[in-house]
Amino acid sequence: MNNSQTIIPFAGTDMITFDMTYDQVRNALKESKIVFNVDFRPNKGCTPEVPWKIIRTNNSVSVFFANDKMFKINCGSSSQGILNNGIKVGMSIEDAMKTDPTLEYDEFEEYYVSSNGYWLFVDSGSDTISDITVFIKAVLDDEIFFSYKWC
C-alpha cells in the first residue's frame, strides 16, 4: 500500500478491494512489506454481538472485517488517501464541500456523509479532513448493516 493511493467508493483502494478476504489482505500487505497489526474489537453487548477484526497499517490505513467479510476501509492522516473526485486527507472541509455539494454533517456522530458513498472525519482544531472512509453498500442502511446479514 503506497502513499497517495486512490480511494474508490464501494470498491476499495488501489491495493485493497472489498471482495478480498482477511487472509488475502494480510498476504498482500506482507508481499508489499507493509507493516501492520491486527486489532480485535469484541463489540460486547452489541445487538447482535459481532466482533470486528481490524488490520491497521503503519501508514494509518485501517481495514475492517466482520466474520471475515471486509466492510470498511479507513484512510487516516498519514495515508495521503485521495478520492476519485479529488477530495483528499489534509484538505479543508470547506473546499471538500465545494467539490461535493452532497456532503452533509451528521451532528450526532460528528462526521460528514456524502451520498456518493464515503464519509469524512474532520480535525476539530484545523477543520481539515483527518480520515476518509469507504464501505460496502450494506453500511448505508443501519438496519441492514447492524443485522450483519450480509456477512
Partner: protein
C-alpha cells in the same frame, strides 16, 4: 456531595406508578430495599453506617430522618434507623425521595434542566450501565458500535421513543482524538441534543460549532 431538593409533585406520581406496577410488592407493608434495588440506581446507607465507616455526621445536613445526597453522580439516601422504626413508617417519604432522583423521570422524560441538574449521574458509567438505566425507565434499546473508525464509543439506539419518552439515542464515548480524550455522553432527544462532559471546559477540544448543549463536570 450535593444536597438535592426533591420535586415532590412529580415524585408523588412516579411513586404511585411504582406502587401499582412494582413486581417486588407482594406483601404489605413491603420491604423498601428490594424495590429500590430493582427500580433505581440509588444507594441506601444508614446514618449509623455513614458515621461508623466514613465518620460522616448526616444529621449535620439538616435532617433527623432521611436525606437524599448525590456524590460523584451516585444518588444515596441516608436514613436514620432510629426514626424509621419497624414496620417503617417512612416508606412513602423514601419512595418520594428516590423517585425524584436522576436525570430521567419515571415516565422516561428528560429535559435540558434535568440533564444539567443531574449531569454527574452519567460519569464513570459504562454503556451497559446507562442502557440498563434507560431500560428501567421503559426504553427498549439496542447497542451498536460507533461509525467513527478510531473511536471506542458505542451508541444506544432507542426503539420505542414517544413524545414523553423523548430520548432517541445516546452516544457513550470514553474519549476521542477529536475532543481531547475526555469521556462524554451525548443524549439526543426529539427536541435537542445534550453533551455531558467529564472534564473542565479547557480540557475539551471543540471547533465551537457544535449544536449540542454542553454540560461540563462541576467542581466544588
Amino acid at each position: 456531595m450535593i444536597a438535592s431538593k426533591p420535586d415532590f409533585s412529580k415524585a408523588y406520581i412516579a411513586a404511585n406508578e411504582l406502587l401499582a406496577t412494582g413486581k417486588e410488592l407482594d406483601t404489605f407493608p413491603f420491604p423498601i430495599k428490594p424495590l429500590i434495588k430493582a427500580n433505581t440506581d440509588v444507594s441506601l446507607c444508614s446514618f449509623e453506617k455513614a458515621k461508623r465507616k466514613f465518620n460522616a455526621n448526616i444529621k449535620a445536613w439538616g435532617s433527623e430522618s432521611a436525606v437524599l445526597q448525590e456524590y460523584q453522580g451516585q444518588a444515596i439516601i441516608f436514613y436514620n434507623k432510629e426514626k424509621t422504626g419497624n414496620p417503617k413508617p417512612r416508606i412513602k417519604f423514601n419512595l418520594q425521595l428516590f423517585a425524584s432522583s436522576g436525570p430521567i423521570s419515571m415516565t422516561g422524560n428528560v429535559s435540558e434542566k434535568s440533564i444539567s441538574d443531574h449531569r454527574e449521574y452519567f460519569f464513570g458509567k459504562s454503556v451497559h450501565e446507562i442502557e440498563k438505566y434507560l431500560n428501567r425507565r421503559g426504553y427498549q434499546t439496542i447497542i451498536r458500535p460507533s461509525k467513527n473508525p478510531d473511536s471506542k464509543a458505542a451508541v444506544i439506539k432507542v426503539l420505542n421513543s414517544t413524545h414523553e419518552r423523548n430520548i432517541t439515542q445516546v452516544l457513550v464515548s470514553p474519549g476521542s482524538k477529536r475532543h481531547g480524550e475526555v469521556p462524554y455522553v451525548k443524549i439526543s432527544t426529539d427536541n435537542g441534543r445534550y453533551k455531558v462532559i467529564n472534564s473542565r471546559p479547557e480540557e475539551y477540544k471543540t471547533d465551537g460549532k457544535e449544536k449540542a448543549k454542553l454540560f461540563f463536570r462541576r467542581y466544588w
